[in-house]
Symmetry: C2
Subunit: 281 residues, 2 copies
């Protein structure tokens, strides 16, 4: 099952913010066995959104859009989504309107007519209620492809993904498991390591992939496995990790969460410090 | 002038890292007047890279690829780029080989034959020497489109962008100026602000755009102007900022770098603290 994440809006494109939404969504999708095939950041522009939706539909099974759902003029996403779904009409959802009015009552602000726009969605949308804000999420299913549209404000987006989008995806599709293990190494270059584990790499089964992730002085080796049976995958991946430990033992500094070399050095220093009683002044 | 940034590799797609490279490149391109039209993160897969290059070529004038240039098996970028440029052949660049050997001499490591692969590039590439690493950058120009391929390691990529790519883009194209000003507000929602500055927004000239960027409790208003004359743009944008200050004075907390409300509160507290002489114990 493959997904594409599309973020709408200039903020990312002009470098004003880093796209942490897509990173978070990617991690969450991975956990339930959905591979992210592509991430695209696009303009808040009708034709650009239409093209992106069309291209994504040809590539993946699940399209997740974030952003472009505010109540102001610069957001044209909803109209564009309606057009994409065969010129669907925009209708008012009374339960959303009631929810928005409730939010405004709670914070003692008068309800403004311009807010009504937030309650208007394409008629074909399955409503995803946003308990943390005024812009609802939307779910569409057409030609075996799921389309989800979510607000870009991170805590609103996260609430919707966790509580509504992921459970629905799990209901809609039979999903495999995807597991990653990352081995941290220090002190040898990518090419040297590649030579040392060449045979190992050539003999990996098709459902286990190895990636080299170099940074200054370090190379991480990421093993990724995909399959139906989580226990078997875990077992096989642990065997592969053990095999790599056999091949390049002296350059490995840790595994996964235990990732940072700095953290390991810190732990070792703490151990020593404990043994050295502090001198009394 | 429009650009697309394409990052190659699974690291971003599985959520292992945040795509800070694209954010940095976006900022730098903006500074020299190039708009980033789209950012795409794709798989390290031949067909996927070919499709992304073809799609980008139809959309933009400048395509910047990062990632996928390591010396190991999992990197197929160079071969794919050669195929994209009409089945170009891969040839060895002696000056790159010499540079790589030099790097290895410097750190007292023996040169490995597998490193020779790094010196092999499509014959149509204009070489961009990478002074911070072994993988060179490449520059192609075809049908009015520039293609740049760079390593994904951030400090190598940044060196190449700053010293080679940006100067070449400025030489190749006549570029406009793009200027942004961001007004920070606190305490009113997007829709309320939109109502208050509706007339102002409707009367903006076509080359000045307004975006609403909401987050918890705050809305940033970003004005962006694009044109040939930097002084005139600066002047006009300052006038627009002044006009917004007139319309919603009581909710504005700062401008641009002066962005963070927390920072402002900190400054105010420091001012007060200075006046309160510390009590001697």
């Amino acid at each position: 099952m493959k997904a594409e994440i599309i973020t709408i809006g200039d903020e990312i494109l002009i470098g004003q913010i880093v796209d942490t939404n897509s990173q978070w969504i990617g991690t969450e999708l991975n956990k339930i066995g959905v591979s992210v095939y592509q991430i695209s950041s696009i303009q808040d522009d009708k034709q650009h959104i239409l093209n992106a939706l069309k291209e994504a539909q040809e590539r993946v099974d699940i399209v997740i859009l974030t952003g472009g759902l505010g109540p102001t003029k610069d957001d044209i996403t909803k109209k564009t989504i309606a057009e994409f779904f065969h010129d669907d009409e925009i209708v008012e959802y009374p339960e959303v309107l009631e929810h928005i009015k409730g939010l405004f009552r709670k914070i003692n602000h008068p309800f403004k007519e311009v807010q009504r726009f937030q309650a208007q969605l394409p008629s074909k949308a399955t409503l995803l209620m946003n308990h943390f804000g005024t812009a609802p999420g939307m779910w569409f299913y057409e030609n075996n492809t799921v389309f989800v549209s979510l607000p870009g404000v991170p805590y609103e987006m996260k609430g919707l993904i966790t509580n509504q989008v992921l459970p629905r995806i799990q209901q809609q599709f039979k999903l495999p498991f995807i597991i990653h293990k990352t081995i941290m190494t220090y002190g040898q270059g990518e090419s040297t390591i590649a030579e040392r584990i060449e045979d190992f790499e050539n003999n990996l089964p098709i459902y286990i992939k190895l990636a080299y992730l170099p940074s200054f002085g370090k190379v991480r080796l990421r093993l990724s496995a995909k399959g139906e049976n989580k226990e078997i995958l875990e077992k096989e991946l642990n065997e592969k990790v053990a095999a790599i430990y056999q091949l390049i033992p002296e350059i490995i500094t840790g595994l996964d969460d235990d990732r940072s070399l700095e953290k390991r050095v810190g732990e070792l220093l703490k151990k020593i410090t404990k043994r050295l009683e502090p001198q009394k002044v």
